[in-house]
């Protein structure tokens, strides 16, 4: 029986992130983590005719890279858990159609990466399935045109805006030993502290992230110092200091171990306003860079907290506040891979 402490799941068996795959667009390929991505494209169309097809291409590339590195075929995977930002999560739906793996579509906005990873790990741990793939994608242009404005529109954006990452990340979850273990997950609750500005998601998501991190630490009985890294998805330069203050007030000082994927995936001079966001933000950084660091043993225990804003453009125009959520997953170095 897996141990359950309120919203924190501690997996009983050794669950491994057996393999990962990442694919990105041009801006990410010019960023500091470019060498950690399996595939990158020179332009946002990724060789396709529309932005939506480009996002699908990225998702398929990430999953195929993940399978290839694990020497597995799609037919050997029991469950496909996937999501993206688009209406009806169509990118995930179409990729599932292509892969022909039993499919559960999931939506957590930019927190979907850890949401899918947590649920996949739990199902493997419970013994219902042997192998699952958790995958997410996002695309700057598809997100822009669905949530905000046409991509060629000249209206200025405020400095709190975030820039959606164009990319996709996929992880293969199984009990087959590998250098990276998935040990725990903390499922978040939805928060609404009154932020109505969809151009300021960092501020809106910080309370959700703070609660998930605090709950995780309380429910596992650990200290901040037990982690080499507490990584948030896309709080950006606006939400990060707010998060640190929120946790500091609760007695947790994370400043020495905290980083944010949205600030890692781009360089400061890449004109991304407050930082990166989107499902792929946490996914490509975690499945690319973090997994590499864990494999090399540079990191031992990482808490990845993907943050998402669960709003819709209509609801924002109706002057509702942004409902936000954060899901956390603990990744640990398995130490050599053989247990």
């Amino acid at each position: 029986m897996a141990v359950k402490r309120k919203q924190t799941w501690q997996f009983k068996n050794d669950i491994y992130l057996s393999s990962t795959g990442t694919a990105t667009g041009p801006k990410e390929a010019q960023g500091p983590l470019s060498s950690y991505f399996d595939q990158s494209y020179d332009d946002l169309y990724c060789g396709e005719d529309s932005w939506e097809l480009a996002e699908r291409r990225l998702m398929e590339d990430a999953v195929m890279a993940c399978l290839k590195k694990a020497n597995q075929a799609a037919s050997s995977v029991d469950l496909y858990l996937a999501g993206d930002l688009l209406n009806q999560i169509v990118t995930a739906n179409f990729s599932a159609k292509k892969l022909q793996i039993p499919y559960l579509g999931m939506f957590g906005a930019c927190s979907t990466s850890m949401e899918t990873l947590a649920v996949g790990a739990a199902l493997v741990d419970a013994g219902f399935i042997d192998r699952a793939i958790a995958a997410v994608s996002s695309h700057n242009a598809t997100a822009e045109r669905q949530f905000r404005n046409p991509t060629e529109y000249g209206g200025p954006k405020p400095p709190t805006s975030e820039s959606t990452v164009t990319g996709a990340g996929a992880g293969l979850i199984s009990r087959e030993a590998s250098p990276v273990k998935i040990t725990e997950a903390t499922i978040g609750k939805v928060f609404d502290w009154g932020i109505k500005d969809a151009n300021d998601m960092g501020s809106a998501m910080a309370p959700a992230a703070a609660d998930t991190i605090a709950s995780h630490l309380t429910q596992t009985g650990r200290e901040v110092s037990d982690y080499d890294l507490i990584l948030t998805g896309d709080l950006s330069s606006v939400g990060t200091p707010i998060l640190k203050e929120l946790l500091y007030e609760r007695g947790y000082d994370i400043s020495s171990v905290h980083q944010d994927c949205g600030l890692m995936v781009y360089r400061p001079d890449q004109k991304v306003f407050a930082g990166g966001s989107g499902c792929a933000c946490s996914a490509v950084v975690t499945y690319g860079y973090i997994v590499d660091e864990l494999t090399r043993g540079n990191l031992q225990r990482v808490l990845v907290v993907a943050t998402g804003s669960l709003h819709s453009p209509t609801m924002v125009q109706q002057k509702e506040a942004l409902p936000t959520i954060a899901h956390g997953v603990v990744l640990e170095a398995a130490g050599g891979g053989e247990s």
Binding site: P150, E152, I242
Partner: protein
């Protein structure tokens, strides 16, 4: 006494110090010279039409507007206008070029949905508000003016 952030009711107020302030002065300077430049350029075009064609100073307004709209549409098509817009702010938004950009960018964006349901249907996605409010305002002001006239005479 330090303000506590962990207070949902006052959160929005309390995080104000954490939010980046727009560089108002710098943005106003940029808006000033880019907007002014577009208007001066418009003056140049108007004079061109007066000199080389059969337009007067008043009637030159029409072809001038059309010319600026053409230029803005092309710049939008070339993918340049959005970059200008981020730099110039109100300087590219307020002139009629901003209006053209809002129409062209919306039309361009929805090309993937076809000419009728995509391009044509979405043409006024952003610009519709301007036309609607402009017309409604003109009606209201016009009616008030007529009412005044009728009351006075």
């Amino acid at each position: 006494m330090a303000v506590k952030l962990n207070n949902p009711a006052d959160y929005k107020q309390n995080i104000k110090p954490y939010q980046p302030k727009p560089k108002v002065f710098r943005n106003c300077i940029r808006a000033f010279w880019t907007g002014g430049l577009i208007c001066a350029f418009g003056q140049l075009i108007a004079n061109f039409y007066v000199t080389f064609f059969d337009f007067t100073e008043t009637t030159a307004g029409n072809p001038t507007t059309a010319t600026l709209i053409l230029i803005a549409s092309l710049l939008t098509g070339f993918g340049v206008y959005d970059k200008i817009g981020q730099f110039a702010g109100a300087g590219s938004l307020v002139p009629v070029t901003g209006f053209a950009n809002s129409i062209t960018s919306a039309a361009l964006e929805h090309k993937s949905e076809g000419l009728v349901l995509g391009v044509a249907t979405n043409l006024f996605k952003l610009a519709g508000a301007v036309i609607v409010f402009g017309v409604v305002a003109a009606y209201v002001v016009g009616l008030i003016r007529l009412l005044f006239k009728a009351l006075i005479t």
